[in-house]
């Protein structure tokens, strides 16, 4: 008996959607917009995390060594720096290695390479490239490096990478906040539209509901088709957003790859690997929002 009733609830629910087709389409469109903004928020979050990570990877501190310094003294200094708590890794770049890197970097610039040849000798200095463990400890690392008093150190390059990182962090936070507000507005609009759609559906069916109550239909049976309609709205909405969002990501991907040259970021593979988690949660969220709106509307208007 329950299965028969359940199948009839589905049938009545589909009839409700079909009889108010334009209202149903408008409801689903609003839901799609809400879901799109949520997915955009997720994408922005991913991209900003990638940007921050990419900057973190590029941050290092260079100590330039006197060219006449003894190799053993340099290695001793390297060992001393490696022992500092905040240091993740120290790389020694000799004078020749520095020259190789320089030539590779400027291989397409013949004027610079010609100038270098005219000099006749390697003007570059050896260096120790230090990567910090944690960028938040950047200040204390600089202090520790400044405390080292070694005559072989020729100069220190402590660019303020932290300020750049903070800027990126700030921008991503602001974008996330704006996205959150936009998503919130869309979710609120969705609530109102679904509430109104169910209210109109109930109004259209007021005679049927009256007869249902008169002949002894249970409250569950009277209300369930409208609640089920909200589940169908959520299902169609999530299905539509999957069909819309993947082509959108495909369009976005080449621009991201061009932007993050040294850093791997693939939004499609991220969405693929988290498919059930992302869209499953979105479906449950949409069902919850629609369900709340429907419950309020059904509770208020189905007492015919």
């Amino acid at each position: 008996m329950f299965i028969v009733s359940f199948l009839r609830v589905i049938k009545f629910s589909i009839q409700d959607i079909a009889r108010n087709i334009w209202l149903s389409i408008a409801t689903i469109m609003i839901l799609i917009l809400a879901l799109f903004s949520v997915n955009m928020l997720l994408t922005v979050d991913l991209v900003s995390k990638a940007a921050i990570e990419s900057i973190r990877n590029k941050i290092d501190v260079n100590l330039y060594i006197n060219p006449s310094a003894d190799e053993n003294a340099i290695l001793a200094l390297k060992a001393e720096i490696s022992n500092i708590n905040q240091v993740k890794d120290v790389t020694y770049i000799s004078k020749d290695e520095a020259m190789n890197i320089f030539q590779q970097r400027h291989q397409n610039n013949p004027e610079i390479l010609e100038a270098l040849r005219e000099l006749g000798e390697n003007p570059l200095t050896p260096a120790l490239v230090i990567k910090p463990k944690n960028i938040d400890q950047y200040d204390s690392l600089i202090n520790a490096l400044n405390a080292i008093d070694n005559p072989i150190i020729q100069s220190r390059n402590f660019e303020d990478h932290k300020a750049l990182l903070e800027k990126v962090n700030n921008i991503s936070h602001k974008v996330s906040e704006a996205g959150l507000i936009i998503s919130g507005i869309f979710i609120l609009i969705t609530l109102l539209v679904v509430y109104n759609a169910i209210r109109v559906a109930i109004y259209t069916h007021r005679k049927e509901i009256g007869i249902m109550r008169l002949v002894g239909a249970s409250n569950w049976f009277v209300r369930a088709p409208f609640l089920f309609s909200s589940v169908i709205y959520a299902f169609i909405g999530v299905l539509a957003i999957i069909l819309i969002f993947y082509p959108f990501l495909s369009l976005l991907q080449p621009y991201l790859e061009a932007f993050f040259i040294d850093y791997q970021i693939n939004l499609i593979s991220f969405f693929n690997s988290h498919f059930l988690y992302i869209f499953g949660l979105e479906f449950l969220g949409a069902v919850a929002i629609n369900g709340i709106a429907s419950l309020i509307a059904v509770g208020k208007y189905s007492r015919v």
Binding site: M1, V4, R8, I211, L214, V215, V222
Partner: protein, 226 residues
């Protein structure tokens, strides 16, 4: 079958639709409740189907005290009471068969059982040949007979008919009253609410007269006295 003890119904702010009504209708009886418009007849019907909660007193239907009935119990009560109203309450986009089977569908009956019950009740009301017609394709009397058929599908012990002939001409009125008498002969208690003097006088059954929410007369074989 139906027992009302000191039943009072007060509508906001101070309108007494029913005022300490005491009433006992036995199983298998055919009772006419008469009175002018606004005397509380429909309120009485609504209290019997749980649509209105009484302000005081006790309402017992089939041994069941429905005075403080819960929302979840109302459908169970309504499956035991058939109700017919003056406005036919038929769905215009459904055939007569579909209108009657709708009552069983929404209560979860399987298709096989619906296909067996509906033709039986349609035969009882004399519409077995018009089951596939739409309400607008049949007369008012036939529409009302469809409503009666719908009210019979749950095999109720009580049939409440609130002004069932109000929208009908005299020929259709007689047909409906004959049908109600036929149903009563099967053992169903029939409560007919009407202000049709001729119908009540022809019936020669029990007549309860309501005036300003009070029962002013209760005759075993009565006439319309107002």
């Amino acid at each position: 079958m139906i027992r009302l003890q000191n039943v009072t119904k007060i509508y906001h702010p101070d309108i007494k639709a029913l005022n300490k009504v005491n009433l006992h209708i036995r199983p298998g009886e055919f009772v006419s409740i008469v009175g002018q418009s606004g005397t509380g007849k429909t309120t009485l019907v609504k209290t019997l189907i749980g649509e209105e909660k009484v302000s005081g007193g006790k309402v017992i239907v089939g041994g069941w005290d429905i005075t403080r009935i819960g929302q979840s119990e109302i459908p169970v009560l309504r499956r035991q009471i058939g109700v017919v109203f003056q406005d036919f309450k038929l769905l215009p986009k459904k055939t007569l068969f579909e209108n009657v089977s709708f009552a069983l569908q929404v209560c979860g009956y399987p298709v096989k059982k619906i296909k067996s019950i509906v033709p039986q009740v349609m035969k009882i009301v004399g519409l077995e040949g018009k089951m596939n017609r739409y309400p607008q394709e049949v007369s008012g009397g036939e529409q009302q007979r469809t409503v009666i058929a719908r009210s019979l599908v749950h095999r109720p012990k009580i049939l409440l008919a609130d002004e069932p002939t109000g929208n009908l001409d005299s020929i259709n009125t007689n047909e409906i009253i004959d049908l109600l008498l036929k149903i009563n002969k099967f053992g169903t208690t029939v409560v007919l609410v009407t202000h049709n003097r001729e119908v009540v006088n022809q019936l020669r059954k029990r007549v309860i007269t309501v005036e300003n929410g009070i029962i002013v007369s209760d005759q075993a074989v009565g006439k319309y006295v107002l």
